[in-house]
Chain length 452, copies 2
């Protein structure tokens, strides 16, 4: 019997969904009035759509009537209304706690401003999320995310501090140091991207660390999709001998740990009374999809007043379930978390293929190594897809037959994706190693268009 309580906030987390939905609706109505009356960005968009806050009388109204906002709209608005955009809110300097930013590697950086009140609330929400993932005051949380301009490690640290765990803010250091200090300190929780957790499994083998006997009990993963996909998740859990807890939404949605998997491991809980999440049709953000059906996820800040996001479209695909989790929390769930980014979708000969689907297949094979790459090309008018899979060290030692592997892989790809995929098998170490976020799809068709 643990010395610690079961829930961070029992009343909130186990509330009857109907009661919670009433709270959510009230918050939505308040937020809609706030953004429409105070933030020129929303006023402009809502007026363009002839939408008025009072049009929302039910949760269904919210989904069907309120226009979405996208990252592109935020960037444009910040350019026209520097530095925080006309959706920032009119805060005095002393009311602001934090300024963070995005990298701007793919264009203009965006800036985030969090008020003191929103920042304090975020600490509590992050603590609730990490508590849900099983983190307790006697844990030592090793954080491999950077502490920098990007929100990266800040939410993790806020939550771990708030719940009273020991924070070990190592940040992104060489993998050897990451593993060595993990052992020395006896860290019990590791916070990283799923691809970095995968990478460390192999790095540990290479360096002679027995990861199965490490002190880590839980992996708190985020920063990219995949932490809830069965294939990679099982591989990571087995390699680390630890439970994997997928946890995150998007930087814009800070507090960003409002999706989190609990100890019962039946899917990702959605703290929808903090950040309301909807699943809608990919082509029409005002059309809800049925429970269990795949679609685009849309998020709404129910409490944040500084740069609140109302129906923000992160471009992620997911599906939702109302099945109850045995942990007792009454939140809806994302059974496989976020499946991947919609704009990562590859259309090959008319078939929609997600990199996550490919990863799920690659991770099934006993002989596959940590890295793989997807190359999409054109041969004449025909799209061609090739998957390079690394063969792991063990299968090389055991002299497994490469033709057998190739055949196995081709069979599974055809079966799962419905199309023929060319398989290349390379020895482990051929492809570049993933340290932070994996970039696994190379679409050469775009290069061909670009050079025309």
């Amino acid at each position: 019997m643990s010395q610690f309580k079961t829930y961070w906030d029992e009343e909130r987390e186990t509330l009857a969904p109907e009661k919670r939905n009433q709270i959510i609706l009230n918050r939505i109505q308040e937020q809609l009035h706030y953004v429409y009356n105070t933030l020129p960005f929303y006023k402009r968009i809502y007026d363009e759509h002839h939408f008025k806050p009072e049009d929302v009388k039910t949760l269904e109204d919210f989904t069907t009537k309120v226009p979405i906002i996208t990252k592109k709209m935020l960037v444009e608005d910040q350019q026209k209304n520097p530095i925080y955009g006309s959706y920032a809110g009119d805060f005095k300097e002393e009311e602001i706690a934090r300024i963070q930013g995005s990298s701007g590697t793919s264009g203009t950086p965006t800036f985030y401003q969090v008020s003191q009140e929103d920042w304090k609330r975020a600490a509590d929400v992050h603590a609730m999320a990490q508590w849900c993932a099983g983190i307790r005051p006697d844990d030592v949380v090793q954080i491999s995310f950077p502490f920098s301009l990007f929100f990266g490690g800040w939410g993790v640290i806020q939550g771990a501090e708030r719940l009273g765990a020991t924070v070990f803010p190592l940040g992104p250091v060489e993998s050897e140091k990451q593993l060595e200090l993990m052992n020395q300190i006896g860290s019990t929780v590791f916070s990283a991207t799923p691809s970095y957790c995968m990478h460390l499994i192999n790095k540990a083998k290479e360096l002679g660390f027995n990861l199965k006997e490490n002190t880590i009990k839980r992996l708190l993963v985020g920063g990219e999709a995949g932490g809830s996909l069965k294939g990679p998740k099982n591989l990571i859990a087995n390699g680390w001998n630890a439970s994997v807890h997928d946890c995150a939404s998007a930087s814009e949605m800070y507090p960003f740990q409002t999706n989190v998997e609990c100890e019962a491991q039946q899917g990702v809980h959605v703290f929808n009374d903090e950040v309301y999440a909807e699943i809608v049709e990919k082509e029409d953000a005002n059309s809800p999809v049925s429970m269990g059906e795949k679609g685009a996820i849309v998020y709404t800040h129910l409490w944040r007043k500084s740069q609140p996001m109302i129906r923000f479209w992160p471009g992620d695909e997911s599906y939702m379930s109302e099945q109850r989790c045995s942990c007792g929390r009454t939140y809806p769930m994302l059974p496989e978390g976020v499946l991947g980014r919609l704009d990562d979708m590859i259309v090959v000969r008319g078939a929609n293929i997600y990199p996550s689907a490919i990863e799920n297949i690659v991770r099934k094979f006993s002989w596959s190594g940590p890295e793989y790459q997807v190359i999409v090309n054109k041969k004449g008018v025909m799209d061609e897809i090739k998957v390079i899979i690394e063969q792991n060290h063990l299968s090389i030692q055991e002299k497994l037959d490469p033709i057998g592997m190739k055949t196995e892989a081709e069979y599974h790809f055809k079966k799962q994706l419905g199309i023929r995929v060319q398989i290349d098998i390379h020895p482990q170490g051929t492809l570049p190693e993933t340290i932070f976020k994996a970039k696994r799809v190379v679409d050469r068709r775009k290069e061909i268009i670009a050079t025309k």
Copy 2:
């Protein structure tokens, strides 16, 4: 009239020194009993010295009777008693807030463990320090120190968060980005090493940023000595058109901002009711020196229970004054902060020369650039000292006579240091740029010995 209060903790900061000394003595006595009875490291050292806690009845007893501890002793003890040493204290995991470490570049890394109680107290002390330096809730604090294994930026962030300022945790990024975002965000406080502040003055000129018209009002400097030395300090203050506040003790002494310069700018206040500081003879740590006399500084944690340092010898030189500051704070002062590290002292032909003394001279010249280097060599049996000074861009444009500069420099070195120094003048950009902590002395005599 400012909307904010004058002191963070008026009663504490303006207390009559005699009353404060009584509190200090009580704390010292409590800490001595605590470390002797609880921490094997201290028990062993004190027994070896036949010292008992009850021997301390006055502050003078403390200085004359209690043995010092050094970094070397801490490293050895951590090696024998991994991982936190036998001076760590018997804390349960849930009582620990933080684990930090040193880089270990010059040997074995050391690990720091801070209890929840000590960590909370540190936030308040760091806030008191930053408030003393004039930072208020309406400031935007841009931090260039890293957030990593090292204590670096963590104390700065703790204090700024606690007092309610806006934290902009940019960390160590390229200088251009540092300057660009400073302008965009409108940061009002910049936290960096003095040498990095110096570096940015020249980088700004190069990049066409008018640093004199920047939004920064205060520079909170630390991480190396020199923030209170008249020469470099004036140069930095003029270059930035901002006030320079020297602020820091040592990593071991976390909360490390217990030495800090206030807005009245009459010297560095020593919060000696938090970390007690003594100035003692360099050759005998149990011999106090008189007020105003130079010596080695020795620090004692009066409140910290996790890894408390009792008479820790950081190897820094300083002197103290009891003169009252016009700000009303009644703490003693270090009129020029920490002068430099004792082990950086160069003995040339029998003369003791500190790098800080050389810097003070170099910064006097109107024509000198940001970087300089000191090279110590042996010619036969004679020590030779050469100072390479960079000539700044302006003096090159104005075609100043290099022979005049050389003569001027030689004259001042002879006058200030009492020895003849060879001067080489190079154009700006010849020496490597200082980004974080400056390394300015190259002692070739050591290389000669090492290769023998």
